[in-house]
Symmetry: C2
């Protein structure tokens, strides 16, 4: 078992879907990543920033999950990052209604001293310079760095993004972003180009169509569990990444074979995340439910064809 340090947003979200809408609720990439990773009882810390308006109960929720929050800076006079989005009927497209950076605009991450030797680092979606700064603070080289990013940084900070991408072992990125980053439509070709940018492992997230893991000439695919209803996709990608990184931190095995399992765990946790608004489902999730859903994943994908 390794220590896991997570950098990312801890935020307010306001979400509207065809099923309803929320006021400002707990959100943020690091929140979803941390909740997912906490399922593996790893020693983890979140590095982030919130404003004076951020309720203590949200911080307590993370602490109760044994997540170290000493790296979450509280800017008393500031306001917490706020995102608001509207999902359309197919749940695959969304409009961003509001983005208020607030305290995130001047965020200088500080990794707690006791986590600067963490073996696993999960760089949640944030400005690539912030992601780089976390790596710079590590006193011993991590064994595994996982980076998540999005198209926004390709549009406005591409050079910084390419610099940090060079330094990571695994990148998780969605299909459209992989295409934008490489200019290639085929995900197989896109993954190869991203390999050449640095990451030995490339995970391409396809939302309801599952996720692909590439490593040299190897490829593994995990479907998304077919659900009767996707209630709110917010945080599903972060939950996937958190499950992935959490499982690898727990098992200390960064082989392709074990990374396949990490992808399955990530997909399993993401399948819960979308069942309720925001973090609600992830706050109320027990090991038995996860176990049962892993069995569903096996039934969904495993077959017996004897090949000699």
């Amino acid at each position: 078992m390794s220590k896991l340090v997570i950098v990312g947003t801890v935020a307010f979200d306001a979400i509207e879907t065809p099923f309803g809408k929320t006021d400002k609720i707990l959100g943020g990439a690091a929140t979803f990543i941390g909740l997912a990773a906490s399922q593996f009882n790893v020693d983890s810390a979140i590095v982030s920033v919130v404003g004076g308006d951020f309720p203590q109960e949200h911080l307590d929720l993370l602490s109760e999950r044994e997540i170290d929050i000493s790296g979450i800076e509280i800017v008393k006079e500031g306001k917490t990052f706020f995102w608001s989005g509207l999902y359309h009927n197919d749940m695959n497209s969304r409009d961003t209604l509001i983005t208020e950076l607030n305290v995130l605009a001047d965020f200088k991450p500080v990794v707690p001293k006791s986590y600067r030797d963490s073996k696993v680092v999960m760089l949640g979606n944030l400005h690539p310079l912030v992601q780089s700064s976390v790596l710079d603070q590590m006193t011993t080289e991590p064994l595994l760095v996982v980076l998540d990013t999005m198209n926004f940084w390709m549009d406005c900070a591409l050079e910084d993004l390419l610099t940090v991408i060079k330094r990571v072992d695994v990148i998780t990125i969605n299909d459209e972003e992989a295409r934008q980053l490489t200019g290639e439509y085929s995900l197989v070709v896109a993954a190869r180009k991203i390999h050449e940018m640095g990451p030995k492992y490339v995970v391409i997230k396809k939302g309801e169509h599952g996720a692909l893991l590439f490593h040299n000439e190897n490829v593994f695919f995990a479907p998304a569990l077919p659900l009767e209803e996707v209630f709110d996709p917010t945080g599903a990608g972060d939950t996937f990444a958190g499950g992935f990184a959490g499982y690898l931190a727990k098992t200390d095995d960064h082989s392709f074979e074990n990374m396949k399992k990490a992808v399955i765990y990530g997909s399993t946790l993401a399948s819960f995340c979308v069942e309720k608004f925001g973090t609600e489902r992830m706050e109320n999730l027990d090991g038995n439910e996860i176990h049962k859903r892993l069995q569903q994943f096996k039934a969904l994908t495993q077959f017996e064809i004897e090949l000699t």
Copy 2:
């Protein structure tokens, strides 16, 4: 091993993709289904119609595959069904440029006497009344009837379509068509509604995103093999259906477990079909290649997570 009777078009296609374009080449649902099923050396027959303009060499190609063509009517004074389509850059959308029904307009299928006791019937995409007529001609009730259809018949012959759907065991349909047929966005809910229309097994084809097999509360998923290049998607769905039906005719086991394997074989064969224009790849495909690709499918999807 069971006899397999296939009804569907035998046709000319003219295809344009970002990679190039063809003149009139061999196409048609029954052609692709027959070529795929022939990989299993089952005793199969195609029921279809062509015009006097149809080259003998195309018929010879089918005969050489041990496909009985006595049920392919040749209307000497007529012209063969012709379809022309243009694929866009993403290969997921296409425009139909030309549809000339020609001899298909008055097609009255006649199942050869020696195939009226076939245990497996594959109803390729055609007017639902033509599909029904084939079932009416069977002298003993088939053990397995598989139906493929498309949105066109939902728009202009819905009642006839619902009548024939009631009579089949398996339906193969793409995701958008499943949504149109049921008015449900969730494929899980759509599959349940289609079950209620008659078919015990529902296969939803998602193109590059794979295929789902539903049977009561069971669901199985086969991804499409991630390819560097999809050259021409024409016939991929029919090839999938042909591989599926051919494997089931060969094995005589219509259990859910065996149907999972049939879905994998169908996906495997479809992954070859798209590598070249039209039927070219399916005409030049040997058992070793199939075996190797099945191994790729296993590597792509199989994982080891011990669950008690």
